[in-house]
Symmetry: none
Subunit: 202 residues, 4 copies
DNA sequence: GATGAATGAGAATTCATTCAT
DNA sequence: AATGAATGAATTCTCATTCAT
């Protein structure tokens, strides 16, 4: 009943579940499949997780914290806003490229869930946007990022674009190097698509 | 057996289904719930749809075509690339704001589905990206959009950002006017977030 | 509500039903299929038949009486017991060969039914066995059929063998002439398979 | 998933199913009824059988092989063709008398099935007819069975007559001893119903 | 702790039958 | 009389969860 989250079996099951969820989707996956993938009995799952939903909740809680720590570290390693932004996005793409099952579950199931696992997801998205806000504000102080920005929109722009880049990578069978997208993505954020001709004169 | 797609009841059921899917998600929704919402017997559903999956397929086939026609019309109404882009995004936000259940289903289920309904979804995403490519190329010829762009990335930027704007609107309970986001979104696409100071000199 | 059994439509539906039952079996057949085959609306069936079961009941009542009249006539046409037996069996094989759908339904569904249609079936089997008894008794008086016979067994021998001959014909795709089996079948009934060597001496 | 066919519960369910099928017919029987008769939960059925059809398939596969082994043994125990035939028929009647539910299912459902379980059924009927052919040929060599026989017809005669004897026994409520029919049945096969007067002179 | 057989609630789907037109 | 859309009871089957071993 204690549901130990540090035993080896706990992680075995969690990784197996992520793989199965990635391949089939959460709802299409059965506890029996997860158990088989993990090499344990069906009932064993319930020694480590309250129920099927809880596996997804734990996934977000565990993977997410781990990943977000990486994001935070990546940002902290840089000094200027622009490099911070680059580091954030590179870390994001790196993390998802390294663990594609996690990426697939994250991209697909995050939108699906209603109450289930909502808290961790919201926290995580919030954290992500907080980092962006922080970086943008620093850039504005440095003078590298312009001031007349609607912050909410900037967060959505960056969050949405990265998300879509990952999505496209998944849907094309992960055939290319995701991390190498970093620079052109950041460059687009910074410069937009407009030509010099139409830029407002500051 | 003929599955008439123009009868009133067909549309009643489809709208009811979209509402139920929006509220509960496709997999959590039962045919019985849809029938109840539509005010028909369970069996009646099967006079108009092959099975539960088919409801979603029909939704994409029907709503999507309808919406995409609007997008195309909106784009065609404008002359310059920038106004075309503005019209596209405004039409997108308008359509989704006007039919929030459709928006919710679309945002959530599109990523979920594997084979089911994949063809229509892919076609639709493709069409969307084709329009963007077309507009961007026109802008490059006009000189309003810069030439050194990786088109694939531009599509993802725009697609992803609009998607995320809609997502945020849904998750905050659709409390504000979605369409009014158009201008600041397009402005961001055009100008990016960088200040004049860091722009490369052309 | 009068369920007229002499209208043209009544027979159209009955024939359609027999065809469908023959092809799919009674339980696998749907009222909708029968209606389609008959070229009428589903509901029309219920103007002529109480329910699905009733179609089968009517089938036995109608076809059976018709067929049995033929059997009786065939028997009456002959004088000696042996020719009567030959005529009976030839009439049987002829009737079933001529209407293979009827044959298929009769062979397959007769055993299946429990209460449903039991009465007509029993009557018909009874009638068949009565004819056999009658013929055998005549033969015994004529001296062409031996006297020390257990009549119940003789009936089963003849009934069962004819039945099996028809069955085999159906299962081999009705590829040969069924009626031509008559003579060798009757010959077997009369002479058995034993050689002269083992016959008891009378 | 392993569908263990040697566990006690497998047999409990199979016997329960046969009983229910015998009483109601395959199509009229529900999985719930079988489960109740077997004293297990509905879902338990599916741990041992793929689906409802599979129960019937297993029945044929299991019972049939078992019974046919008995037939073969009975035949092999005798030396002369006539005693072989007697043994075969006695073994047949004994087996069906001993397990009347099996008998009822076998007699009724065998004709019904189309593709379902067709293979085992055909194999079994074939095997039966092969034994008959074998015995008859031996008798012809011994001189106890006459040579001018159409073998196909002999098989149908014997198969059909035994079948009908069993049928009659079932339909009269199994009120008498089935096995005791053996001798008079065989006697009929051997001698036919004709009197000495009409026998062809060899 | 681990197992996996057993459970039974729940869901999709079919189809005989009805009835308003 | 005829229609065929609508009904909803009935049935099969799945699978998360439990619990005796």
């Amino acid at each position: 009943m204690l549901m130990k989250r540090n035993s080896e079996k706990y992680h075995t099951i969690l990784e197996a579940a992520i793989k199965v969820f990635a391949e089939q989707g959460f709802h299409q996956s059965t506890v029996a499949q997860i158990a088989k993938e993990a090499g344990v009995a069906d009932g064993t799952i319930y020694l480590y997780f309250k129920n099927k939903d809880d596996i997804l909740v734990q996934f977000y809680d565990y993977k997410t914290k781990q990943v977000f720590k990486k994001f935070r570290d990546a940002v902290n390693k840089a000094d200027t806003a622009i490099t911070k932004l680059q580091n954030l996005i590179r870390a994001h793409l790196e993390a998802f490229q390294k663990e594609p099952y996690m990426a697939m579950v994250y991209q697909v199931e995050t939108r699906q869930q209603r109450r289930l696992a909502e808290q961790p997801i919201k926290e995580m998205s919030q954290m992500y946007r907080d980092i962006i806000a922080e970086v943008v504000e620093q850039g504005q102080e440095e003078g590298t990022i312009r001031r007349n920005l609607y912050m909410g929109m900037v967060k959505r722009l960056i969050n949405g674009a990265v998300d879509e880049v990952i999505n496209a990578w998944i849907h094309t069978g992960r055939a290319y190097d995701l991390v190498s997208m970093t620079d052109s993505l950041v460059e687009l954020f910074i410069n937009g698509i407009g030509s010099a001709q139409i830029r407002p004169q500051h």
